[in-house]
């Protein structure tokens, strides 16, 4: 038991911190978020070729660095802190995790090296509804010959209009809930797939709607077994939730820093406003939430690491622990980030709600990331089910 970062992990954080401080400035974020793609492809290529982050937790046998989920969480935290606009989250937290959890060796060998090279981005689509549970999957997969015909709709898909590889969930006809779910890995340019950008309130992470119109795919695109993929999908979603929570933690840290800095400068009634208890105590509460967010995320990342890569532990025990650890992290960090970002606007006073200052960017990201994969109360109910 050692709940501190190794020197190597600290190095990863330091290099991420200094790199992102240079490339993901407020100006860069604002330029990228105004585009439909939502990211600067030059910067993305630079990340892929210079930093090699997209390959971080891809095993070495598939061309990756073979590092773990704690290292990944560090990156997500730093990216969230700088609101990095990139397809990293969708490609790594959704795409790579899907292939690692549900793919067979051939599928991993096909896709992971391309991702590791920076030649391919990916995402995951499953819900078409206003929820994130199994019943939100409504796309239908019908067995036909040696393959499947897929039809249906997906909503709220991160980077769904730019990703090269789509991980898609679909269900057998007449199945419901957790039954009959299958996962597929399908190139986005497959015939019958239409991906459309849906502009969002938070402009720093793009969403898309995807419609499938009788899309035929070979069985080789099926991840795992047909009709029984819900447990895999659930695990992928839990791993992704840990990544979101890490981003949220970084964002919360940054709004705290912005706020402390601003209040130290701003003078009212003859004092810097940072000297008022009303401000100090709000900042203290923000810090408490930031520190607790970190603890929740680092722990969840440790569990995610075991769930993804450890073979020596009882699988079911780790699966149960991942369920509660990811729900805890997503729930706590969602609420903490929202509160910190909202307080950041408040403590900035008049300039806090201008377009010019940055707090609103974080505030919007806090809300969109709270919503994505389910709110705090949604995840608390998951915990209640586990403990009551």
């Amino acid at each position: 038991m050692e709940f501190a970062f190794t020197d190597e992990q600290e190095m990863i954080r330091d290099s991420a911190e200094s790199f992102l401080q240079d490339v993901s400035t407020s100006e860069a974020v604002r330029a990228a978020m105004a585009t439909e793609a939502g990211f600067d492809s030059e910067l993305w290529q630079k990340i892929c070729s210079d930093m090699y982050w997209q390959a971080l937790h891809i095993p070495e046998e598939y061309g990756g660095l073979g590092l773990g989920y704690v290292e990944l969480a560090i990156l997500f935290e730093e990216m969230g802190r700088r609101l990095l606009c990139s397809p990293f989250f969708s490609t790594v937290a959704l795409g790579v995790n899907s292939l690692l959890v549900a793919g067979n060796d051939e599928q991993k060998s096909t896709w992971l090296p391309q991702i590791a090279e920076g030649a391919l981005t990916a995402t995951l689509a499953y819900t078409s509804q206003n929820s994130w549970d199994a019943e939100s999957i409504t796309a239908i997969a019908i067995k036909e010959g040696d393959g499947f015909v897929l039809s249906g709709q997906y909503k709220y898909v991160p980077d769904g209009h730019t990703a090269g590889l789509l991980i898609l969930a679909a269900r057998e006809e007449d199945s419901s809930d957790e039954e009959g779910v299958s996962l597929f890995a399908i190139p986005a340019d497959t015939v019958g797939i239409n991906c459309r950008w849906t502009p969002t309130m938070d402009q720093t992470r793009k969403q898309a709607e995807i419609t499938l119109d009788n899309v035929y795919v070979e069985s080789s695109h099926l991840l795992g077994e047909a009709g029984t993929a819900w447990p895999q999908l659930e695990k992928i979603v839990q791993l992704a939730a840990v990544a979101v929570a890490a981003e949220q933690t970084g964002g919360a840290r940054q709004v705290l820093d912005l706020t402390v800095d601003y209040t130290q400068e701003r003078v009212q009634f003859g004092r810097t406003i940072a000297s008022f208890q009303a401000i100090k105590h709000r900042a203290a509460d923000m810090m408490l939430q930031v520190e607790c967010s970190k603890s929740a995320v680092y722990y969840a990342a440790c569990v995610a690491q075991e769930a993804l890569f450890s073979n020596d532990k009882a699988g079911e025990e780790v699966a149960e622990e991942l369920l509660v650890a990811s729900a805890l992290a997503k729930s706590y960090c969602s609420d903490a980030y929202f509160h910190c970002a909202a307080d950041s606007i408040q403590l900035h006073g008049g300039v806090g709600f201008t377009w010019e200052y940055d707090p609103h960017l974080y505030f919007k990201r806090a809300k969109s990331s709270e919503t994505y994969l389910g709110s705090g109360s949604y995840h608390r109910e998951k915990i209640a089910q586990a403990i009551l």
Partner: protein
């Protein structure tokens, strides 16, 4: 203490409700529920036309005394007027700063000439007002005003220089009332004056402030040797603070009930969404909707207590909590709206670069409610110090 209206009042309710039904249609139909807080920049010309339409029928400034062009309505009838106006979806008054602030101030403190010159334009909907209070470095601290004014030795005109901020509707206004420092070297509350300055002149520049909604309801206003006639000072030089404080009292009147009907309309829309998408079955959402409903009711009862209480414009306890309560309530309503919408809360309207839906716009704009017009923190200071008699903060060391 009783809560029912007299039959006379109920008859008045029929009258205004009927008039609105007959008139808020046709070209004005599109204005329903528009132009409220967060939406004030929308349809300015059309809303001015509506204001004049109301003026023709004698419905502007209904609470003003008859001698100044109003209807001299009783408090109860004013309550009814504002309720029915908001219930009908009447658009945000373009003239509300004139009707609610500039006018009452001129009536209370202005000269006869000023009353003749300025009140008819407000009543007729032909002249619009904005307020020049906040400054970038003063924020909520009016005693720190830096805008200066002096009298030109030759013309006697006031010459104003400085910068105001958070001025809504500045680009649509004909006049601005400005708190300026007219005694050079004075500090704090002393040496301030209350000036009426025309906006259409080279010395006045309006720069919109882009808000987190992507739109611009507020502005910065730059005065660079802007001028106004010698007579356009309310009260005497140096009485600016006194007048400004009285004006704060005018802000909390019957119009709060109209604001509440606007809130009710937002809450109704949220309830409709909740019923539509099934989130009304979520117990946590149910609690929050009930809580929002309760808060709005309480706001109404607070207002009724305010209106029934001391009529001298002095701030009662229930008036002092008003801003803190509604601003916090509204911010919570914004969050509730988004949580009721769930995943759909992110999706923008079609077309345009950043086309927020009504509820999204409301949600984002509510983050300013707890800041402008005195932050929640300032409100709590005021309550603690003025209502509870607790000591002031020590000044800086």
């Amino acid at each position: 203490m009783k809560i029912s209206f007299s039959s006379e009042d109920e008859q008045f309710r029929q009258e205004i409700a009927g008039w609105l039904k007959e008139n808020l249609k046709g070209e004005f139909e599109q204005l329903r529920h528009r132009g409220g807080p967060g939406d004030e920049h929308m349809f300015p010309e059309e809303r001015k036309a509506w204001e004049q339409h109301m003026a023709h029928a004698g419905w502007t400034c209904p609470g003003w005394p008859v001698e100044h062009g109003g209807k001299g309505l009783s408090i109860n009838q004013q309550v009814i007027f504002h309720e029915e106006y908001a219930r009908a979806g009447g658009p945000g008054h373009m003239g509300h700063i004139g009707e609610g602030l500039a006018g009452p101030t001129i009536i209370a403190f202005g000269s006869e000439e000023q009353k003749k010159r300025f009140l008819p334009g407000i009543v007729n909907g032909t002249e619009y007002w904005c307020q020049g209070y906040s400054e970038p470095s003063a924020g909520s601290d009016l005693a720190n005003v830096k805008t200066k004014a002096h009298q030109d030795e030759e013309t006697g005109q006031w010459v104003v220089s400085g910068q105001k901020v958070w001025t809504s509707l500045a680009h649509e206004s004909d006049w601005c009332f400005v708190i300026a420092r007219t005694e050079p070297g004075s500090i704090g509350h002393k040496g301030l004056s209350f000036l009426l300055v025309p906006m259409e002149q080279t010395g006045v520049e309006v720069r919109p402030i882009e808000q987190l909604t992507g739109t611009s309801e507020f502005n910065e206003v730059f005065f660079d040797n802007a001028v106004t006639d010698a007579g356009n000072i309310v009260g005497k030089p140096g009485e600016g603070w006194k007048i400004a404080m009285a004006l704060l009292g005018f802000e909390r009147g019957v119009s709060t009930l109209g604001q509440q009907m606007h809130f009710q309309n937002e809450l109704d829309q949220i309830i409709e969404v909740a019923k539509g998408n099934g989130s009304s079955k979520d117990p946590a959402i149910r609690q929050r909707i009930a809580d929002a409903w309760m808060g709005l009711r309480i706001m109404r009862y607070n207002s009724l207590r305010m209106l029934s209480g001391g009529k001298d414009g002095a701030l009662q306890k229930e008036a002092m909590i008003y801003k803190l309560f509604w601003a916090t309530w509204h911010a919570n309503l914004g969050k509730l709206a988004m949580d009721v919408l769930g995943n759909e809360s992110e999706i923008l309207d079609e077309g345009g670069s950043y086309e927020l839906t009504r509820l999204q716009s409301m949600y984002l704009f509510t983050r300013s409610d707890t800041i402008y017009g005195g932050t929640n923190e300032i409100q709590r200071n005021i309550i603690a110090e003025r209502a509870l008699g607790m000591p002031k903060e020590p000044k800086g060391r």
